[in-house]
């Protein structure tokens, strides 16, 4: 979302550059061919001159001019063993050597330029591909975010219009009003998530460490998410009930746990599964684990899950109602907290386990 879209003009410039580079490659190839022809032509021309010189030298020889004098006029004409004049083999060899050197020089220079040009094209091509990928991700993001926003908006509007159209009894009015508030809260959470991810991506965050009880935070979040889980047929189990003191930013911890639990609930809704929250001290800190019996993922995707918009790549049918930002936010927060976030799954349909580890804990008690 934060990567700027290249402008239309930028794209035109890049395509023009590639066109020019392609033209340059052809031009260089043409130069090479042209210079080969030129060198061959020059050699042939000099050979013709040498032949003319040989004829002239032979006439001088017939006219009785001494061989030494003739050699002075035509250094490249020499007598053979029988005294007949001929073009010196060394001169012919030199001509060939010159031609070869000329062609070789142009071949190397052209090769170098072609290499530079090919490298430049490669760099530009890669840039264009990356740009296309960014554009695709952004299109997907917009499509999904628009879906995620418009659905609660549709529900909100429907409830409001139902109130106006039906003039329902007090009980139903209260029910509709409650639904409207829930829709507003859903929208608010999504806006917060998008803003959080943008801030975290730019590093514009300040974490303030305080000491607090992780179990208290967990209990609050679980209580808030219980109804959502129940509605989606998911059993939410909290095993993080024993007090564990932690030195961390309380808002960050809240955000991480909430995102992990929401993600797990969404992934388990299809098969009406279970989501379990637990924690345990580990060698380098305290590890909080959210495991679910949901849709799982391909094990090789474990890292990519924490990338922005990853969920979007899995297509419509695995859209569980997220923006593709939740796990990205978790990973970024854990990065700033100098902790780590890990994901594990045996494969699609086999559930998943997400573990976040905070590096600094004090007074840990076993949960």
């Amino acid at each position: 979302m934060t990567t700027p879209l290249p402008s239309e003009t930028g794209r035109v410039v890049r395509f023009t550059m590639i066109g020019l580079l392609a033209f340059s490659v052809l031009q260089v190839c043409w130069w090479l061919v042209d210079q080969s022809h030129y060198a061959a032509g020059t050699t042939n021309m000099v050979r013709a001159l040498y032949s003319a010189d040989l004829m002239a030298a032979r006439r001088l020889q017939v006219a009785g001019v001494p061989a030494d004098e003739i050699s002075g006029y035509f250094p490249h004409v020499v007598p053979d063993t029988e005294g007949r004049l001929m073009i010196a083999p060394a001169a012919t060899d030199q001509l060939e050597a010159d031609r070869g050197a000329h062609v070789t020089q142009y071949t190397w220079e052209s090769g170098f330029f072609l290499l530079v040009l090919a490298g430049s094209i490669g760099v530009l091509w890669r840039g264009l591909r990356e740009e296309r990928e960014v554009r695709r991700q952004q299109d997907n993001f917009l499509a999904l975010v628009s879906h995620q926003f418009k659905t609660p908006l549709a529900s909100l509007r429907l409830s409001a219009e139902t109130l106006v159209k039906r003039q329902p009894p007090p009980d139903y009015t209260r029910q509709l009003s409650k639904r409207m508030i829930e829709d507003v809260v859903r929208l608010e959470r999504m806006v917060t998530k998008i803003l959080d991810s943008a801030r975290l991506e730019r590093g514009r965050v300040e974490f303030q460490k305080t000491r607090f009880d992780l179990a208290d935070t967990a209990a609050q979040i679980v209580a808030q998410l219980e109804e959502t889980a129940r509605e989606r047929g998911v059993k939410l189990i909290n095993r993080l009930t024993t007090p564990i003191e932690i030195d961390a930013d309380s808002i960050a911890v809240d955000t991480v746990l909430r995102n992990l639990l929401e993600n797990a609930i969404a992934a388990s809704a299809e098969n009406k599964g279970e989501v379990t929250l637990s924690a345990a001290p580990v060698a380098d800190g305290i590890a909080v684990t959210v495991s679910d019996t949901g849709v799982g993922f391909v094990p090789s995707d474990a890292r990519r899950l924490f990338e922005k918009f990853h969920r979007l790549d899995t297509g419509d049918r695995q859209s569980h109602g997220g923006t593709g930002l939740g796990l990205f936010i978790v990973a970024r927060i854990m990065h700033f907290e100098k902790g780590r976030a890990e994901a594990y799954s045996g494969g699609p349909g086999q559930g998943a386990t997400f573990t976040v580890t905070w590096p600094v804990t004090t007074g840990a008690a076993h949960p």
């Binding site: 499509a143 628009s146 879906h147 995620q148 926003f149 418009k150 659905t151 609660p152 908006l153 549709a154 529900s155 909100l156 509007r157 429907l158 409830s159 219009e161 139902t162 159209k165 039906r166 509709l176 639904r179 829930e182 829709d183 509605e231 989606r232 809704a269 299809e270 419509d316 049918r317 695995q318 859209s319 569980h320 109602g321």
Partner: protein
């Protein structure tokens, strides 16, 4: 359906929205079943006797478009109203190509939603009643079965017809020899609000000519009345 309360299957993964829609449909006296994912929706729609389906496009497990396409492949022709957050024309066309009857973009107006549901049910009701009175059409060596959506053409070839094709045939066959305007056809088969252009009808007529006319260039059954619409001649005596 005519003597019973229409049954609607609503496939929407957003629980509050699904509840809101179902409550309003029930208030209009329809019977409504709700499911929250595409796969279950497909199973219910294939097995159940529904008069109409309301499908969200973006569903877990199986998208609404895939669900609709699967149903059509199975020969289930229950009319479909698509709901989607995407409003661009391309998505609309995709929905209609998948066999959808109408398309509503979220967030929608409640009255408009109910109106569209009513319109689709009315068109379907008309089609069913019409088929009950005349379930087959024979013209120029062609035979069309309005119940199975199958046809045998004059050259012996068998064709599977789409819901829209049989509905157009039905409208035309009801009034043989009469000129039927494009707008009239649109209203009867789709409802005016769905397609932006009456050119759509022209494309369907071209397809029907391809299937049933001996010479497409000089049609004898599906006659164009320039600037107005079409006339159906079951005898094929038009020149």
């Amino acid at each position: 359906m005519s003597d019973q309360v229409p049954r609607i299957l609503l496939v929407e993964d957003d629980l509050p929205l699904a509840r809101g829609m179902a409550e309003n449909l029930r208030a209009e006296t329809y019977t409504v079943d709700i499911v929250h994912d595409g796969q279950t929706g497909l199973e219910r729609a294939s097995a159940g006797d529904y008069d109409m389906l309301v499908l969200d496009v973006m569903l877990p497990r199986l998208s609404g478009l895939e669900l609709c396409a699967s149903l059509r492949q199975q020969g289930v022709n229950t009319p479909v109203l698509f709901l989607t957050a995407r409003g661009d024309p391309h998505d609309k066309v995709r929905g209609l190509e998948a066999g959808g009857d109408d398309y509503l973009t979220k967030p929608f107006n409640l009255d408009e939603f109910l109106l569209r549901v009513r319109a689709i049910l009315r068109r379907w009701e008309w089609y069913r009643a019409s088929v009950a009175s005349a379930s087959a059409l024979n013209f120029g060596g062609n035979q069309v079965d309005f119940r199975s959506f199958r046809a045998r053409a004059w050259d012996g070839r068998e064709h599977e017809l789409t819901e829209k094709e049989v509905m157009i045939l039905k409208v035309l066959a009801e009034r043989p020899g009469e000129v039927i305007g494009r707008d009239d056809l649109l209203e009867r088969v789709w409802g005016q609000e769905v397609y932006p252009s009456t050119r759509t009808i022209d494309n369907f007529i071209l397809r029907l000519r391809k299937l049933f006319e001996r010479e497409q260039q000089t049609p004898k059954h599906f006659i164009t009345v320039r600037g107005v619409g079409y006339r159906f001649d079951s005898e094929g005596t038009a020149s």
